[in-house]
């Protein structure tokens, strides 16, 4: 299971870059992936994985990349290459057929997902969530936005533990998790209702605490250690934004 956070601490220049620059870069790659031909998509994916290696996060990025993209890539090649009926289906052996246009399409779709996946993994593995949020606050995005990204990340472990405690407690009291689907549905209710009720109590109390600590009392907040930013990075972000706008215009007008 992929049940641990993807972020790997490090000191590479990618780790130190401003999260806003990195996310602009990520968006640029995603937009560009809709313009590149299949071979380029696979080549750029490989380059991104190599950058990951150079930044010291290669192991984790490549492992997750393989785990997440392999089933999809196989499925897309088999489905488009051999199953979905197309006009250029050629027999290979017995009932097995293949389609060249289907394989080309699979390579395009698979390559695009591969590139988006590789670059997203590179972004999240080199960006600590806390740094990303400080960058958003420092850029004066609404405080509510960074709260919605931070709070679930912080509460996740607590609620996972709570869910486990509820299921242990209910099973000790004789709740059966086996039996007919109807009984298991009843069990689901017995598990979910306490979890949801406690979540609502938390939300109610926390909203008071947040307001009392001045959360959203002003439209912006001071950030005491904002992530480093440079004139070059600001220039880069603007250039990438213009580039993305041009790409989008090209795709629409094409």
């Amino acid at each position: 299971m992929l049940n641990s956070s993807i972020y790997c601490p490090g000191e590479s220049s990618l780790h130190r870059a401003n999260p806003l620059t990195k996310s602009t870069g990520l968006f640029t790659v995603v937009v560009t992936s809709f313009l590149l031909p299949p071979p380029a998509l696979w080549v750029v994916s490989a380059i991104i994985l190599l950058i990951g290696l150079a930044c010291g996060v290669g192991g984790s990025v490549i492992w997750r990349y393989v785990l997440l993209s392999l089933p999809f890539t196989l499925a897309v090649f088999v489905f488009h290459g051999a199953i979905l009926p197309r006009s250029d289906m050629q027999p290979v052996l017995g009932w097995l057929h293949y389609s060249l246009t289907g394989l080309e399409h699979a390579s395009l779709v698979g390559g695009r997902i591969s590139l988006i996946l590789a670059s997203s993994l590179l972004f999240v593995s080199t960006t600590a969530p806390a740094t990303l949020l400080r960058a958003l606050d420092a850029a004066r995005w609404p405080p509510g936005l960074s709260f919605l990204l931070a709070s679930p990340l912080l509460l996740l472990d607590q609620f996972t533990g709570r869910a486990r405690a509820i299921s242990d407690a209910q099973q000790t009291r004789g709740l059966s998790v086996d039996g007919s689907p109807w009984r298991r549905l009843q069990a689901l209710r017995m598990l979910l209702v306490p979890l949801l009720t406690s979540a609502l109590a938390d939300a109610q109390e926390r909203s008071h605490v947040l307001t009392a600590r001045g959360f959203r009392a002003l439209p912006y907040r001071t950030v005491i250690d904002p992530p480093a930013d440079t004139r070059f990075q600001r220039f880069l972000r603007w250039s990438l934004a213009v580039f993305m706008a041009m790409e989008t215009a090209f795709m629409v007008l094409r």
């Binding site: 992929l2 049940n3 993807i6 997440l68 089933p71 999809f72 499925a75 897309v76 489905f79 488009h80 979905l84 009926p85 699979a106 779709v109 997902i113 988006i116 996946l117 997203s120 993994l121 999240v124 509510g144 709260f147 919605l148 990204l149 709070s151 679930p152 990340l153 509460l155 996740l156 609620f159 996972t160 869910a163 486990r164 299921s167 998790v177 689907p181 298991r184 549905l185 069990a187 689901l188 209710r189 598990l191 979910l192 209702v193 979890l195 949801l196 009720t197 979540a199 609502l200 938390d202 939300a203 109610q204 926390r206 909203s207 947040l210 959360f215 959203r216 009392a217 002003l218 439209p219």
Partner: protein, 198 residues
């Protein structure tokens, strides 16, 4: 109240959305235990939609997928529009009073599943080529090989795998909000639309 800023969302709703996102992510954990053929990944979204309306529901959906993308599987972020539609449609149905009785809620679940199919199909086909790399691909493959078009194969699969989940999730939320004490629901504006007429 003389607050300096006028914000669209009350902080109360914001705190609710945050825990609802966690419920969406943790909900699947119970599913591992009970082995039911459903996802349980939008109970929090539907709960927010019923308590605080379509916009709050939509935001819960989007952020759930963005956060799953940030920590587990980046691909989930591509389906954020689907999660958005679940919250939006559930909120609109709640506003229209379709979470009042058990049968209305069942129908609401079916409508949510239908609405999400409309958004999920183009994403699945255009970005993912109609497959996901999961077990559901066998259904898509089966429907296409018996002569369905790609669009209808994917649509059948998406709707079929979601309808039971959305109906059950809607029913769970319906059952929950009926029994919540006043202390926990005070201040959520939308709940009045789902109260059964006495």
């Amino acid at each position: 109240m003389s607050a300096i800023t006028k914000t669209y969302f009350d902080t109360k709703v914001l705190a609710l959305i945050a825990v609802a996102i966690v419920i969406n992510i943790v909900g699947g954990q119970f599913n591992d235990l009970l082995r039911l053929p459903i996802f349980l990944d939008s109970i929090g979204t539907i709960l927010v939609a019923v308590l605080a309306g379509p916009i709050a529901g939509a935001i819960t959906g989007i952020f759930t997928n963005v956060i799953i993308g940030l920590i587990f599987a980046p691909v989930a972020a591509a389906f954020a529009p689907v999660a958005l539609v679940i919250g939006l449609v559930a909120g609109l149905l709640a506003r229209a009073g379709w979470f009042r009785t058990i049968w209305q809620t069942v129908i609401s679940g079916v409508v949510i599943a239908a609405a999400l199919t409309v958004v999920a199909v183009p994403i699945r086909i255009y970005i993912f080529g109609g497959v996901t790399g999961s077990g559901a691909d066998f259904f898509v493959a089966y429907f296409s090989s018996v002569g369905q078009t790609l669009v209808s194969s994917v649509a059948f699969t998406v709707f079929g795998s979601n309808v039971a989940d959305k109906v059950l999730s809607a029913l769970l939320v319906w059952g929950l909000v009926r029994q919540l004490p006043e202390r926990l629901t005070a201040g959520y504006d939308y709940l009045k639309f789902s109260k059964a007429a006495a």
